[in-house]
Amino acid sequence: MNYPIWLVPFLGGSWIIGIISIIHIFISHFAVGSGFYLALTERKAYKENDEGIYDYLKKHTRFFVLVTTAGGAITGVGIWFSVSLVSPDTIAILIQNFAFAWAWEYLFFAAEIATAFAYYYTWDKVSKEIHLKLANLYLWFSVFTLVIINGILTFMLTPGKWIQTHNWLDGFLNPTYFPSLFIRILIMLAIAGIYALVTSSRIKDDNLREKMVKYSAKWLMPVFVAGPIIGFWYFTQIPHETIMTIANGIQTSGVGNFSILTRATYLSLILSGTIVVFAYVGPYLNPKGFTFGISLMFLLCGFMVTGTTEWMREMLRKPYTVYNYIYSNGVKKDEILNIDKMGFLKSGKWANACASKTDNDIQKGQIIFRYECMSCHTVDGYRSMKKLLGTRDQDSIVGFLNLLHQTEPAKNPYHGIMPPFAGSDEDIHLLSSYLYSINNSPNSSDHKISSR
């Protein structure tokens, strides 16, 4: 509410972040996982004195450098742009707390990129021992980028003692830090294997292709052996309320939208299960029949698993962006009482500036809608208000907003699912006027104030 709003029609800003992030994660996990893959496979080539593996690795490295540096860089910058525009309040908190950690992360990231290029350009130009050292160096730099970013990502779900101390290290080494770190490393190994299957399926020599396809398929095994155990550990560390939301959705997924977290969890588990079967009956049992086309389908499956799992992880901390501290709409939990007294439009700097440009109730209500609701809803697209409001009259909308206004869990059935409404009775009136106008005005949802 202190920054301008980025309007993304139909899809909503959160999905813009989501789409870019999922692509970025699928690439960045490949980057770190490949640190292990390149180092261990190069060691294998030297140990077995197999020139075939050596030649394959050279080609694989070109693919790896292209994908991780170009794709990773574009999507990485994309995340910063989109996150800063969609959730400026949250990103401000993260920067204020983790500036030092991020500085280190950038340092390791720069070193990682430089080492990746050095690794690629020094094939056959330096001794085997030095080249292997470069592989090991890349591995360490890439793992350190994970070690740091993992602290910031997990902080958002389980800020731990930080809530009381506001000490960055308390937030960094939070309850889900270690389970998340270990499970991510396992997932990264699997993703490195999936990408390697694409390149190894193109090897011309039949024997070498079968050997490398089978070898790359084995990289999926660690996550399926240790993954469930670490996954269970991870789930024991997440907030109890989140677990309850998943449990409630087990029965009610057939009706209503509030079971989306449960459904995302199902999908993540099911797709993860099918991918292991795919890896086993495909490249592992039948490396001969594992063609380039099938490897691309497998890559798509891997992308789907990554996408749903990351989506589920994001949903775990809803309706917060930093659990128990700041809601997804940028309203801090401990500011709600103050906003209720002052009124929403008077509490936020930018919201106040926008509201001062109009005397129209509907337009003022639209400003509140954009700040308080649009982080999760759109007017007529994703989680469409048009659809959700249906034929409700203004009184019933007011009644609903009054329910949302309650901060006590017993009085608000949407507690833990949606942020409570922050604002005065006047704000409720303004917002309800706008919401009612969406389905009941000749120019519904077309109140242009952004140009003012």
Binding site: I250, Q251, T252, S253, G254, V255, R263, A264, Y266, L267, I270, L271, T274, V277, F278, V281, G282, L285, N286, K288, G289, I294, M297, F298, C301, M304
Partner: protein, 366 residues
Amino acid sequence: MATELLPDGTSPEKSINPLFKWLNDRLDLVSIWQLAQKKEVPIHKHSIWYYMGGITLMFLIVQIITGILLMIYYVPDLNSAHASILKINTRIDFGWFVRSLHCWAANLMIFVVFLHLFSTYFMKAYRKPREITWLIGMGLLVLVMGFGFTGYLLPWDQVSLFATKIGLDITSKVPVLGDQLATVLRGGSIISQNTLSRFFAIHVIILPLLLFGLLGIHLLLIQLQGISTPKSIKVSEVKYEKFFPDFIFKDLLVWILALNVLFVLVTFLPWGLGEEADPFAPAPIGIKPEWYFLAMFQFLKLIPAYIGPIEGELFGITIIGLIVLILGLVPFWDTGASKKLSKLATYFGLIVLLSMIIFSIWGALS
């Protein structure tokens, strides 16, 4: 007995465990293995269509398992049917999941059966000696659509009631036996408990029995006759791979992909339930049948009430019947002996397919 039977090249007698030996003595597993080794699948640019039959089978397995689970809680009684589905959707752990799997897999199965049918048609795989396989395939398509039609009424909500009413009205217009057939299905002159009971029995007993019988023959014939290669593919362009294990493994991968599509649909779009059916309420506005009947529905809608002395719907159904008949009898008029007839069969198939797509989209949008 041959000694090069196992995939690793070892003799079965040497490496086999006692259980295998015990089973082999009774079931002659080695001969089955030999047979599987001999069976080959052609690989060429149209090979992808060979997977459609397997995907259909996989969705059928999903249907059987989820159907049995749903039967545990479903009550085929007019006063309880809707409530039992509501209970499955809201109070039974994972009930919504099983029901959504059943409903989505049914739709996907019908879609893949259509793909299977038309791919077989355009590859001319119906020609000698596969005429019977083709006819049975057509019969299976009718059965699958019958499953869809009878299953649609079971939740007993407003849409299912009125869609069934429309379907039975159309059935009654079928020449000669239509009226009697609709009455038998309905169990009287109006949709009632009799209809629900009959549809339930047809859905869970009669159709499955017919399906298993026809499917068994269909699969047996495929095993006996092998997989056909389109004549348009040159012999030099065709490679062969072993059915077991090479093709089977690839088939499994395709199954996994198809399952993933099913799970994504189930998770993002769980199957809902409308208001309980009220036979005395007016029909919901814009009521339409399921997508696989939409082309036929739209076509019948376009026909005027009377064409000369003939009733419009009767005329439309006769036309549809003739098209199905020509399609079904294609192996007997396109035997491969005449290039002209071969081309005619291709164009006829294309017109039918395009018409189905256009009428379905038109029906959905109108």
